[in-house]
């Protein structure tokens, strides 16, 4: 996939968000380049999810801007778009993988319909083609296409997470947000899912932002890392560099607190 490396795909400048008196996000700025995988790490309550929600236009920040690179018009502030444009963006160029698969899937309709929903929302009206695409994507996320008519309710946790990924990737987005995609899965399933995510992001040249509290996930998937603490970005850098030679005291604490098996 040809990747435009002239411009970042996402530019975040001076984001602030507070809930009442409490500041959840203080002056967050960074850039994300096409094909890059960025991990946001930090302990619970450090503002990771607040940041992700602001980036994905799910929650409006108090100040600051989030600019996304749109094919024809370049970097565009997503909060200055109309809601219709934003929602179109969210179901074409973006994906969002939720921590809890029930939030990201329709549990009452079959796996095929879950994968096909975005296609139908974009105006595809040929059942056979939608189904073929859904089968293809199920295979790509290692779900047996024979289960296309099963409900996600009857899937295991790992399968649901993979189904969620297929549902998001079917429109070939350029940027995928993932909120703790592997938490709640047992370790062997986590490993398989991470392997799959790494393959997919590499093959598709996807840019993605992964929120996680698990440094192993970050090390395995991410090119770059952002460490957050109490709403502030305390350190950023290349993953290996940051994990092997943390500079900020908090990062040092975080890295040293990981159990080494």
């Amino acid at each position: 996939m040809p990747v435009d490396t002239q411009s970042p795909i996402l530019r975040v400048t001076g984001l602030n968000k507070s809930y009442g008196e409490r500041a959840a996000l203080i002056d967050a700025s960074f850039e994300l380049w096409p094909g890059e995988v960025l991990a946001i790490v930090g302990e619970s309550g450090s503002g990771k999810t607040t940041l992700l929600n602001a980036l994905a236009a799910r929650d409006k920040p108090d100040s600051g801007s989030v600019e996304f690179h749109i094919k024809d018009s370049g970097l565009t502030d997503i909060f200055k778009m109309t809601e219709a444009q934003r929602r179109l963006l969210a179901r074409t160029d973006w994906g969002f993988v939720h921590q809890n698969s029930a939030d990201g899937l329709r549990m009452e309709v079959s796996a095929g319909a879950n994968v096909g929903e975005r296609l139908m929302a974009l105006g595809q009206r040929h059942y056979g083609k939608i189904r073929a695409t859904a089968c293809d994507w199920l295979a790509r996320v290692e779900i047996d296409p024979a289960r296309i008519d099963d409900l996600p309710r009857h899937f295991s946790g790992g399968m649901r997470q993979r189904l969620q990924i297929a549902r998001n990737l079917v429109t070939q987005p350029r940027l995928v947000f993932m909120d703790e995609p592997t938490s709640g899965l047992d370790v062997s399933v986590q490993a398989k899912l991470l392997d799959l995510l790494r393959q997919l992001t590499q093959h598709l040249g996807l840019a993605s932002i992964i929120v996680t509290h698990d440094l192993a996930v970050a090390r395995l998937l991410a090119h770059r890392m952002i460490v957050m603490r109490r709403g502030c970005i305390v350190e950023t850098g290349l993953t290996d560099q940051l994990l092997d030679d943390p500079q900020h005291p908090y990062t040092q604490l975080l890295v040293s607190s990981v159990l080494q098996p």
Partner: protein, 314 residues
């Protein structure tokens, strides 16, 4: 007392019957007070101006339970005038419980003329059918609606469905149809089949059989929909496009029957299956009782004229 003029105030006495039932003086004309009727008419005007859009209105307590047509009754009460001729049908029939009671309600509170003939009526309140006979510009058809939101079963959050309507994001409707095909091999939705009105709003046509959906398209009559419990009114103005959703390779289709109507022999109407005994005997008859009677009398007339011809030949 009533301030709107109805377009068709033609004499229909030959066709209809004023039953000798005194108007109950304890009620305002058509039960609702004038302010309420005005409020509902404002909602109707808005609904007509935005075809297929669900307009909220202050639905009143009616002297019958929700689910019995309180929405339709309030709409009818707001548009009815003393010169109107009212027909009430339930599943196509004029003599089922729901129809009989609603008709009696309006007789008691308005004393308007009532009819069972589709062509004689100026107002038709209906539950679950559109009459077989083509409607005209002089008629208004009022549907009783239990669930006005077509996406409710897939997206229960109303805040969300409203923005989906606002942004015309209707992928969900096709998810429902996709599920049908995946499970049953064809679109198994047979009633309340979703339609796109005026190329803008997706609308629940109320639980009419999908057989009736094509009749809504470019219909000369004004079509009003009232949902009492959900407090919504919506409308399809005359000559508005109403398109039933479908897939390119699984297009919208209406029901068909192998047998004609047992009574009138019609092959063009919506047929009910009636079990006749406990030996597995069953027949198909028209669900629209007025249409069936009209067809029967046509049959009889032609039988008589043939008989006359035959006797002349002797």
């Amino acid at each position: 007392m009533l301030k709107i003029n109805h377009p068709s105030e033609t004499s229909t006495e030959t066709l209809t019957s004023h039953e000798n039932q005194a108007v109950d003086q304890h009620f305002n004309f058509a039960y609702l007070d004038e302010r309420t009727k005005r409020m509902i008419r404002r909602a109707i005007l808005k609904a007509v101006a935005i075809p297929g859009y669900q307009v909220p209105f202050g639905s009143r307590e009616m002297p019958l339970p929700y689910g019995w047509g309180t929405g339709g009754i309030q709409v009818t009460a707001s548009v009815i005038g003393p010169h109107d001729v009212l027909k009430v049908i339930d599943q196509g029939s004029d003599d089922t419980v729901n129809a009989v009671n609603i008709r009696r309600f309006f007789q008691r509170t308005t004393n308007v003329a009532i009819t069972t003939q589709t062509k004689a009526a100026t107002l038709i309140q209906t539950r679950h059918r559109i009459p077989e006979m083509a409607l005209t510009e002089d008629q208004i058809i009022i549907y009783q609606v239990p669930v006005p939101e077509p996406m409710q079963r897939l997206e229960p959050r109303e805040r969300e469905t409203r923005s989906l309507h606002g942004l015309s994001e209707y992928g969900l409707m096709h998810v429902k149809l996709y599920e049908d095909i995946a499970r049953y091999g064809h679109i198994a939705t047979t009633y309340d089949y979703p339609v796109l009105v005026n190329n803008r709003y997706v609308m629940a046509p109320s639980p009419i059989p999908k057989f009736d959906n094509p009749k809504m398209h470019m219909n000369p009559a004004l079509q009003l929909f009232g949902a009492g419990r959900e407090k919504r009114i919506y409308a399809v103005p005359p000559y508005t496009s109403v398109e039933s959703l479908g897939f390119d390779d699984y297009p919208f289709e209406i029901q068909r029957w192998d047998a004609p109507c047992e009574i009138c022999g019609s092959r063009d109407s919506f047929l009910d299956e009636v079990v006749t005994d406990d030996q597995g005997g069953r027949i198909f008859v028209c669900s629209d009782s007025d249409y069936c009677e009209t067809e029967q009398s046509k049959l009889e007339a032609s039988a008589v004229s043939t008989a006359q011809l035959v006797s002349k030949d002797d």
